[in-house]
């Protein structure tokens, strides 16, 4: 967080059918609807999140990710980051306050990987959902489905990982927690973080720009991941793989798809790190084990099925 970029703030995901999507993200994942706007967008949050929304669904003819945003500690840091981005040669777009309801101004830019990112300092603080701020209970009643705890990270596929690393590490203040290196020492996967989490954002090398691999939501326990798998079967939701464990980050996970084909993950556990830790390295020859620790082979879908 050394440049004032604090944490993942929101992700805007395109969906083909809003009713189906909403059922998936609320009834199955357990997110809570907090607002809607005249663009047809629906705003959602997970119950432990303190701000008004973390997931925005937008009706569109092509699924995928519009942008992911990170919250910055304050306006002064945002102004400094804007300057730093410009000095780095990054074109910055201003998105006015209120373009997303109850969100302050956003600074939008594209990464060399072809993805759009935003920084913002203000969003309406609504507190954790369903529990009081003082003497809070352990959890709220009335949560649905998987009862997702928080929006945790995204994994994105695109080219120019080195330039993207430079932007995220040297301009935005992320640090490298884990990586996959090929035989020449070229980084083909980079897991970047602002915190002690194993990743706040991750990239895997892919020729086509701007592809969306998954948005991930945190669950507390392995039992919760198994219960998520049960719910995926009960609702006949499209499953990708799991429950299993990742080698990278060692998180325990399950992947599935929303009704528009965007991949979701729910996971628990995983490694922690601090900025003084050396990055964990996986060799590309061990990519199968790095991704799926138990199967030790990649399924075709993991590398090619993207939105």
């Amino acid at each position: 967080m050394k440049k004032g970029v604090m944490r993942p703030g929101h992700v805007q995901i395109r969906v083909l059918d809003m009713d189906e999507a909403l059922k998936h993200y609320t009834d199955l994942l357990g997110l809570i609807e907090t607002d809607r706007d005249d663009h047809g967008r629906v705003y959602l949050k997970a119950w432990t999140e303190v701000d008004k929304f973390s997931v925005v669904l937008r009706p569109a003819e092509e699924p995928g990710m519009d942008f992911m945003a990170f919250k910055v500690v304050d306006e002064a840091s945002l102004q400094q980051l804007e300057k730093d981005l410009a000095d780095h040669g990054v074109e910055v777009e201003q998105v006015p306050e209120g373009e997303l309801k109850d969100c302050g101004r956003r600074v939008r830019f594209n990464a060399p990987s072809g993805h759009t990112f935003e920084l913002y300092a203000d969003k309406k603080y609504t507190g954790k959902w369903g529990i009081t701020e003082v003497n809070p209970e352990a959890w709220p009643r009335g949560l649905d489905g998987m009862k997702a705890v928080r929006f945790d990270h995204c994994l994105l596929y695109g080219p120019e990982l080195a330039a993207t690393y430079d932007l995220f590490v040297n301009v935005l203040g992320f640090y490298l927690a884990e990586q996959v290196l090929d035989g020449d020492g070229t980084r083909i996967a980079q897991f970047l973080t602002l915190s002690t989490k194993a990743h706040d954002i991750a990239f895997i090398h892919h020729e086509e720009k701007g592809k969306f691999h998954h948005a991930s939501f945190y669950l507390e326990t392995w039992e919760d991941v198994l219960r998520a798998a049960d719910l995926i079967s009960m609702t006949d939701t499209s499953i990708d793989i799991g429950p299993t464990r990742h080698g990278l980050t060692h998180g325990k996970t399950i992947y599935f798809f929303d009704p528009s084909g965007n991949r979701n993950e729910v996971f628990c556990g995983g490694d922690y790190n601090y900025p003084d830790h050396k990055p964990v390295t996986w060799q590309a020859e061990q990519l199968g084990k790095a991704i799926f620790y138990h199967d030790r082979v990649l399924n075709e879908r993991f590398l090619t099925v993207l939105t």
Binding site: L16, E62, I188, L303
Partner: protein
């Protein structure tokens, strides 16, 4: 009809039954047939693109990137979003249309 529609893949010779309201891809998976690649099953990733050469069907929502109107006109659709109305004959498409997942990505080469 009652028992459903017969779907025949003329590229691979596979044939299976699709019940009412079931997509071609779902029926294929249920029968344990592997003649069309399975991706997201949501009309989003384009992995299961096929060409319908004969028969009538309805389509669910599909990503415009993978099933633009011109393609749909040619019967090039995503099997996960194809609901047969009559018996269907389908065929496989060559995997890499321009703009789709390229064969020469580094990640793929590594496998």
């Amino acid at each position: 009809m009652g028992i459903g529609c017969q779907v025949t893949n003329r590229t691979t010779g596979d044939s299976f039954t699709c019940t009412e309201g079931q997509s071609v891809l779902k029926a294929m998976e249920q029968w344990g047939v592997k003649c069309v690649p399975v991706g997201c099953r949501g009309g989003g990733c384009g992995f299961c693109k096929i060409r319908v050469v004969e028969g009538e069907y309805e389509c669910g929502k599909m990503s415009r990137a993978h099933a633009p109107p011109e393609a749909i006109e040619q019967g090039e659709v995503l099997a996960c979003r194809v609901y047969p109305v009559t018996d269907l004959t389908i065929e496989c498409l060559e995997p890499s249309a321009p703009g789709e997942t390229s064969e020469q990505t580094t990640t793929r080469a590594l496998r």
